[in-house]
C-alpha cells in the first residue's frame, strides 16, 4: 500500500494516496473542481486558472491541478474568494469568445456553457470589439479549427506532443493574438487525430465528418465499446434516426484513457450494412424462419465446420460452446482473425488485429492460442472441399471470397445482404450495434456494450438463432428472452451489469 495523506476539502475529511492532486482528491468526495486545461493523462499546464481553490495558510489562491495533497491540508472550493475567481476567469475567457453557440456543434456538451451557467451566469461587462482570429481552418483530414472559440488550454498540443509524439500542433504568436496552428505542409493526420476533438473542452475543434450533423440534444447517447479491435476502447455514441451521428471516447484509465483511433471512431458505422438481410433465404428464395431453422438443424455431420465472427458476444460464444457439446461429432471451429501491422502511433492504442472479441472465443475453447493460423487452416480446408457442412456465424465469420465455394449444406447468419458468400440457408442476424452484451478485450477485461440502435423487426440475435436450432434438435440451451437475460445468465452473481458499467469492466 502506498502512503496516504489525510486532509479536508470543504470541511469533509478524506485520505488519499500521497501525490494525488486536489482535483482528483475532490472527485473522491464528489466535489467537482471546474477545470479546462487539466487532464489526468496529460502534463499539467496550469493555464486556464479555472481550478483555483483556497488552501488554508497559503497567501493566495492556488491551482488545484498543480497542488498535491499534504497532511492536514484544509481546502475550500466554494469560498467567496474562490467563487469570485471562478466567475472572473469565465468573464475573461468569454470576452473574446464569439458566443456563437447557435451554430456551434459543441453547444449542449460545452464546458464553457456549463461552467458559465454554474459559476458565472452574469452578463459581460466587455464593451470593446473582440479580437478576430482565423475560423473554419482545416488542421488535417479529420479536424477543423475555429480560432475564436479556442480558450488556449493547449490540451490538443499536449496530446500531440506527449501521447502520439507527432507534434503537429503548436500555439503561434503571443498574448491575445495566440492561435493554435499546424506548420504548413504538416497536417494533423496521425491515426489518433480525432482525439483532440474529444479533448477540446469547447467548440474550437470539431470533426470535419460530422460538422453541423445534429444538435447533441436531439441525439440519444449510449455508452459502448468499439468493436474495431481487441483493445475495446470505451466510447459514447450519439445516435439519431438509427444513424451514428458522433463517436466520443469515454474515459477508462485501464483501457483507452480518453483516446480513440480515427479508424474506430470514423468507421463506427461500418458495422451497419447498407442493405439488410431481413428475411430467411433458402437457396436464394424467401422462406419462413421455422422452415429455414428446421432445415438448418439437420445440417450437422462428421465434417462440419463453424466459422465464427470475432464480433459475436461473449454470451454467444458461451452458448455456441454449449451447443457443440450436444453434437454427436465435434465440429471444426475457428474465429476469423487477421493480424495487422501497426504504425508507432497506432501501437499506443490499437491492437494488432481486427478481432474485437476473439478472447471470448478462446475462453470457450472455440479458437486456439494462435487464432490466425487456425483460421488460415480452416480456409485452406474449406477450399480443398474438406467440409461437407459449413456454418458462418456473423457476417465477418469468413472474409475471403476468392476460390471459395460453399457446400450445399451451408448456413450463414448474416446482416449484410451483399455478402458475396452464398450459403444454402441465410438467416437474418443482428449487427453488434443492435445487441447488448459482453466483450472480452485482449487484457481479459470483460466490458458491457449497450445496444445503440433499434434492430429491424424479423431479425434475430445470433444466440437466439442458435438456441432455436438447438431446440429443434431437442436440447434447448437457455430460457433467456432478451440480450439482458442472457448476459445475467453468464455473469458471476457478484458482478452486475451496473458494476461492469461503473468500473469500466472487470478483469477475469
Amino acid at each position: 500500500m502506498s502512503e496516504t495523506v489525510n486532509l479536508t476539502i470543504d470541511g469533509k475529511a478524506l485520505s488519499v494516496p500521497k501525490g494525488t492532486n486536489l482535483i482528483e482528491a475532490a472527485k473522491k468526495l464528489g466535489i467537482l473542481i471546474p477545470h479546462y486545461c487539466y487532464h489526468p493523462d496529460l502534463s499539467i499546464a496550469g493555464n486556464c486558472r479555472m481550478c483555483q481553490v483556497a488552501v488554508k495558510g497559503a497567501p493566495k489562491l492556488t491551482i488545484a491541478c498543480n497542488t498535491q495533497v499534504t497532511e492536514g491540508m484544509e481546502v475550500a472550493t466554494n469560498s467567496k474568494e474562490v467563487k469570485d475567481a471562478q466567475s472572473a476567469t469565465l468573464e475573461f475567457i468569454l470576452i473574446n469568445h464569439p458566443l456563437d453557440c447557435t451554430v456551434c456543434d459543441q453547444a449542449g456538451h460545452c464546458k464553457l456553457q456549463d461552467y458559465h451557467f454554474e459559476y458565472n451566469a452574469k452578463p459581460s461587462r466587455f464593451l470593446e470589439e473582440k479580437e478576430h482570429k482565423p475560423k473554419a481552418v482545416p488542421l488535417g483530414p479529420t479536424v477543423m479549427l475555429d480560432g475564436e472559440r479556442c480558450i488556449m488550454c493547449t490540451r490538443c498540443i499536449r496530446f500531440c506532443d506527449e501521447v502520439t509524439k507527432t507534434s503537429e500542433l503548436g500555439m503561434l504568436n503571443r498574448g491575445d493574438r495566440s492561435v493554435i496552428s499546424i506548420n504548413p505542409g504538416r497536417e494533423l493526420d496521425n491515426p489518433l487525430s480525432g482525439s483532440v476533438v474529444d479533448l477540446c473542452p469547447v467548440g474550437a475543434l470539431t470533426h470535419r465528418n460530422w460538422r453541423f450533423n445534429s444538435r447533441i440534444w436531439f441525439t440519444k447517447q449510449v455508452d459502448s465499446v468499439c468493436p474495431g479491435c481487441s483493445t475495446g476502447c470505451n466510447v459514447k455514441v450519439a445516435v439519431r434516426d438509427k444513424q451514428v451521428v458522433q463517436v466520443k471516447a469515454r474515459y477508462n484509465s485501464n483501457v483507452n484513457k480518453e483516446w480513440l483511433c480515427d479508424e474506430g471512431r470514423y468507421g463506427f458505422h461500418r458495422f451497419l450494412p447498407e442493405t439488410r438481410v431481413l428475411e430467411p433465404l433458402i437457396n436464394g428464395k424467401v422462406a419462413s424462419l421455422d422452415e429455414a431453422l428446421t432445415k438448418a438443424s439437420k445440417m450437422f455431420d462428421d465434417k462440419t465446420a463453424i466459422f465464427l465472427s470475432p464480433d459475436l458476444l461473449f454470451e454467444e460464444f458461451s452458448l455456441i460452446s454449449k451447443f457443440i457439446e450436444t453434437l454427436p461429432v465435434k465440429p471444426f471451429t475457428c474465429v476469423q482473425y487477421k493480424k495487422r501491422e501497426l504504425s508507432e502511433v497506432e501501437k499506443i492504442l490499437v491492437s494488432p488485429d481486427y478481432a474485437a472479441n476473439f478472447k471470448s472465443a478462446q475462453n470457450f475453447g472455440l479458437a486456439s492460442e494462435d487464432p490466425s493460423t487456425q483460421y488460415i487452416e480452416g480456409i485452406a480446408k474449406l477450399k480443398e472441399g474438406s467440409f461437407s457442412s459449413v456454418w458462418i456465424i456473423g457476417d465477418r465469420g469468413i472474409e475471403e471470397v476468392e476460390g471459395i465455394s460453399l457446400p450445399v449444406n451451408s448456413v450463414g447468419f448474416f446482416t449484410n445482404a451483399e455478402n458475396n458468400l452464398k450459403p444454402g440457408i441465410v438467416l437474418p442476424a443482428r449487427s453488434i450495434l443492435e445487441k447488448s452484451g459482453l466483450y472480452l478485450n485482449k487484457d481479459l477485461r470483460l466490458q458491457f456494450i449497450d445496444r445503440l440502435i433499434d434492430f429491424p423487426s424479423n431479425t434475430e440475435p445470433e444466440w437466439r438463432l442458435i438456441n432455436k436450432i438447438a431446440e429443434k434438435r431437442g436440447k434447448k440451451l437457455t430460457d433467456a428472452q432478451s440480450d439482458r437475460d442472457l448476459t445475467l445468465s453468464v455473469l458471476n452473481p457478484e458482478i452486475s451489469i451496473f458494476t461492469l458499467k461503473e468500473q469500466g469492466g472487470v478483469r477475469i
Binding site: T166, E168, L169
Partner: protein, 185 residues
C-alpha cells in the same frame, strides 16, 4: 527540403548547437541565422532549423512567432524600430515616428518601393536614459531629435552602412564596429 541557401550556415550552426547540452536550445540562434540569410523568417528556414535540431517544424514556428525580433515578413534593408514605451514617449517618441512616417511616406510595417526603408513602433528597448531612441537593424540611435534623426537618415542613405549584427561571423556591421557611442556612424 533543405535549401542550398543555408549551406554557408552549416558550419556555424554546428558550432552553435555544440555549445548547448540540448540541441533544442539552439533554435533561437539558428533562427537568427535564417533571418540573416533570408531577411526574414521563411518557410524553408523553419524546415532547415527543424532538421538541424530535430524539433517539430510547428514548434520552431512557435518560437519564431513568439519573439518580436524575428520578422515574419520582409522588412526594408534599413528597418527602424522606434521605442514607444513610457520613458521614450515622455521625451518625444511620437515626433520620431511622425518624422519617419513623413520622410518615408509609409505606414508602419510597409516597405518602401526601393526596398531600403521600413519602420514600426516597438516596446521598450532598454535605452530609456537616452530617450527618445530608435533601433535601425541592430544598431541603437539615441538621444534623438527630429533634426538629428534627419541627419542620420541622410547619412544612412548616402553610405548604406552595415548596421546588422552577424550571427554567422559574431560581429557588428561596419556601421558600428568598435564604436561604443552608438549614435555615431
Amino acid at each position: 527540403m533543405t535549401d542550398k541557401k543555408f549551406d554557408v550556415c552549416e558550419k556555424r550552426a554546428e558550432e552553435i548547437i555544440a555549445q548547448y547540452p540540448d540541441k533544442h536550445s539552439a533554435v533561437m540562434p539558428l533562427l537568427y541565422l535564417v533571418q540573416e540569410q533570408s531577411g526574414c523568417i521563411t518557410e524553408e528556414g523553419i524546415l532547415w532549423v527543424s532538421g538541424k535540431i530535430d524539433m517539430a517544424p510547428v514548434h520552431v514556428r512557435e518560437v519564431a512567432t513568439f519573439y518580436t525580433m524575428y520578422y515574419k515578413k520582409p522588412v526594408g534593408r534599413f528597418h527602424f524600430q522606434v521605442c514607444r514605451t513610457l520613458s521614450c514617449a515622455l521625451r518625444g517618441a511620437r515626433d520620431v515616428t511622425g518624422y519617419l512616417k513623413e520622410r518615408f511616406g509609409l505606414e508602419p510595417g510597409e516597405v518602401s518601393l526601393n526596398g531600403l526603408w521600413s519602420y514600426e513602433e516597438v516596446e521598450c528597448l532598454g535605452s530609456c536614459g537616452t530617450a527618445p531612441m530608435c533601433q535601425v537593424n541592430d544598431t541603437f540611435f539615441e538621444n534623438l531629435t527630429v533634426e538629428k534623426l534627419g541627419r542620420i537618415v541622410d547619412r544612412i542613405e548616402a553610405k548604406k552602412p552595415n548596421l546588422k549584427l552577424s550571427v554567422l561571423r559574431d560581429e557588428m556591421g561596419d556601421g558600428l564596429q568598435g564604436n561604443p557611442k552608438s549614435e555615431v556612424i
